[in-house]
Amino acid sequence: MFKIVAKKVLSPTVKQFAMAAPQIAKKCQPGQFVIIRIDDEGERVPLTIADFDRDKGIITLLFQEVGASTQQLGQLEEGESILDIAGPLGNPTRIKKMGTVVCIGGGIGTAPVYPIARAMKAAGNRVISIIGARTAELLIFEDEMKNASDELYITTDDGSKGIKGFVTDVLKRLIDEEKLAEVMAIGPVVMMRGVAEVTRPYKIPTVVSLNPIMVDGTGMCGGCRVAVGNESKFACVDGPEFDAHQVDFDTLIARQKMYIPLEKKSCENGRGGCKCHQS
């Protein structure tokens, strides 16, 4: 059993848990993820590690309630436990001194970008971060990202905070202004695809972290395959980070929608008590 030592409600559907998981906290690196299972009948759900404290033996997990399992998870309170956490999984981010690095986080994708930005800065890079969300209430990790970056830009689709527009608008401006060694982007697939299209003509190395549907997370099931270049790759053992210019985002978007009809059925049957079918 793994205990929730602290819970924060970041927005009505975004929750943050600090979990007691000493062995994972000891080993995890930026870019890695875990697989959790709430109870005996639970799904195996992959979640990226948003932060970790090796001394306290704690990892921070952050999730958006989108289906039955994340709904059910969101209802758990501080002091309660979940059955399984396995990890850390996936390959760590390649961190080295490169020059100016742009770290982009969209929505809750900002959470896994944070430890990467921090590590990029520690490695001696100039870190420019861009975090974006639909609206001001959905922005997360603003202070953390500010501390981890040399410069921070905020964008909102509706202009309720920061610059009105998309993270890609700021990125275009940065490309005009200076030489960028690498762009790292984590967020909704549509955003990552947008970032890839902006940097492609300039051949700026661009890395995205993919979160396809996954079961075991160790390579066994092959469910998380993504088309990269002309090959099928398994996000869990080959990734989760890939060269954004090689990723077939359209296939990824389609595969992520595979279980939506079944998810609705699951919600209707009372798991998690979500309202996703009512909208």
Partner: protein, 465 residues
């Protein structure tokens, strides 16, 4: 009196009924039948049956105990060679192993050795077998076993019996490996697997789940920091193969591993009570001709598919699946599309709508000794299906090899280990089962686990001196 030349039949669920449920297909011998079948054994002095058994079970001995009604002795004899008799009695390819060498098989049918093994194991389980932990010294040497599948469980059982302090590290949340995620409930009830595992725990084996070696711990950490003096790697074949044909990333294409894991380990057949969903489909094509393919095709029917096809590019003669499994699949209504090679998964709006195939004929034998399938020009057709399951084998998982320095692998990525001892290129590290040989059978993995346990014992004894 001349011996009865035919094996006693195994009672089974009616095919029409069982194709709709997950209960066990075969029901096991009753006492009278078991006794009558045991009477068929000639107790040959040379016991050729034993030569066919990868773990050398003393077959004439345990059958003699059944004859004598000494069931405790029968299970004791079995367990001294085989930690998982209830599993082996169900899923071993006995017809290719012990039973193939039975003297009776020369003139009629062999003794039903597998069925008798199952009977003894089930009897013991149902009558509350007692497991006593072996004596273990306070300073017993620690051995790490990686992977709680057939190879790892066997190695762990043997090492625990020899007095070592054994910890199994399992990446998934439940121990059992392929016995839990791969082989369906209707062939191997999960409660039986868990019972065998709980017996191992009673022997003192510790099982740490959710522990991914290569990530949660590295092998070097186990050896250098956690105090383990030897390691056995039994991680199996953990990376599914795909055909590399167009359309394989369409929604509705599964590896057999994923399809079976969702159903068996994650209990997707109870969805939404269990949270893991599965896309069953109305018409399902399973590509491949092995036991895993049969399992997937039969599982699809049980989950409600109207049509379930086996698509295999050679003929039935070349099929690697056990005869019994092919027979059961046919009885249940699985349709065989033989000499049929998939070319492309076709789809619409990112979902599978069909499998474009080509008819094949058999030509000259190839490197495997089997006749090579050759395309028949102009024979293309599209099978109307909405789910495609690839059951064409698995390769080795790279996690351990990529994080363990000096551990030699072959060009396929399998760990190189001595066939007799499991010794790898690194002292103190042993390996066996599918991670070494490539995908094979439960019993061969167990045989490898057994040999490695003996070699680890020898290694640790020498280390003590």
């Amino acid at each position: 009196m001349s011996p009865v030349m035919k094996k006693h039949a195994m009672p089974e669920q009616d095919p029409k009924v069982r194709a709709k449920n997950f209960n066990e297909v075969t029901l096991g011998y009753g006492e009278d039948t078991a006794l009558a079948e045991a009477q068929r054994c000639l107790h040959c002095k040379t016991a050729p049956c034993r030569q066919g058994c990868p773990v050398e079970v003393n077959i004439p001995e345990f059958i003699q105990h059944i004859k004598d009604g000494q069931m405790d002795e029968a299970i004791k004899s079995l367990k001294s060679y085989n930690s998982l008799p209830a599993v082996c009695g169900r899923v071993c390819p006995q017809e290719e192993q012990c039973e193939k060498h039975c003297v009776l098989a020369k003139k009629g049918e062999s003794v039903g050795i597998g069925r008798l093994e199952r009977y003894a194991a089930d009897y013991a389980r149902e009558h509350g077998e007692t497991v006593t932990a072996p004596q273990r010294a306070a300073n017993a040497q620690k051995v790490a076993v990686i992977g709680a599948g057939p190879a790892g469980l066997t190695a762990a059982g043997d090492l625990a019996k020899l007095g070592y302090a054994v910890t199994i590290f399992e990446a998934l949340h439940a121990p059992g490996g392929v016995l839990m995620y791969g082989i369906p409930e209707f062939r191997l009830p999960k409660a039986i697997v868990q019972q065998e595992i709980s017996n191992l725990k009673k022997l003192g084996v510790v099982i740490e789940v959710n522990a991914i070696i290569g990530r949660t711990y590295t092998i070097d950490e186990l050896l250098d920091e956690e105090g383990f003096e030897a390691v056995f790697i039994g991680t199996g074949a953990g990376l599914p193969h795909f055909l590399q044909i167009p359309g394989e990333n369409l929604n509705g294409v599964y590896s057999a591993n994923e399809f079976l894991t969702r159903c068996n380990l994650m209990k997707a057949y109870q969805f939404p009570k269990a949270a893991t969903p599965i896309k069953v489909g109305h018409k399902v094509a399973v590509v491949g001709g092995g036991n895993v393919a049969m399992d997937a095709a039969r599982t699809a029917l049980r989950l409600g598919a109207e049509e379930s096809y086996i698509v295999y590019r050679r003929s039935e003669t070349e099929m690697p699946a056990r005869l019994e499994e092919v027979h059961h699949a046919k009885e249940e209504g699985v349709q065989f599309r033989l000499l049929t090679n998939p070319l492309e998964v076709v789809g619409k709006d990112s979902w599978v709508t069909g499998l474009r195939c080509m008819k094949m004929e058999l030509g000259e034998p190839d490197a495997s000794g089997r006749r090579r399938p050759v395309e028949i020009a102009g024979s293309e057709f599209t099978l109307d299906v909405d789910v495609v399951i690839m059951a064409i084998g698995q390769g080795p998982n790279p996690l351990i090899q990529s994080t363990t320095k000096g551990l030699d692998t072959n060009k396929r990525g399998n760990i190189i280990a001595d066939e007799e001892t499991g010794q790898t290129s690194r002292p103190g590290i042993f390996a066996g089962g599918d991670i070494v040989t490539g995908a094979a059978t439960v019993i061969l993995a167990m045989g490898a686990g057994k040999k490695s346990a003996a070699a680890i014992d020898k290694y640790l004894q020498e280390k003590r001196q």
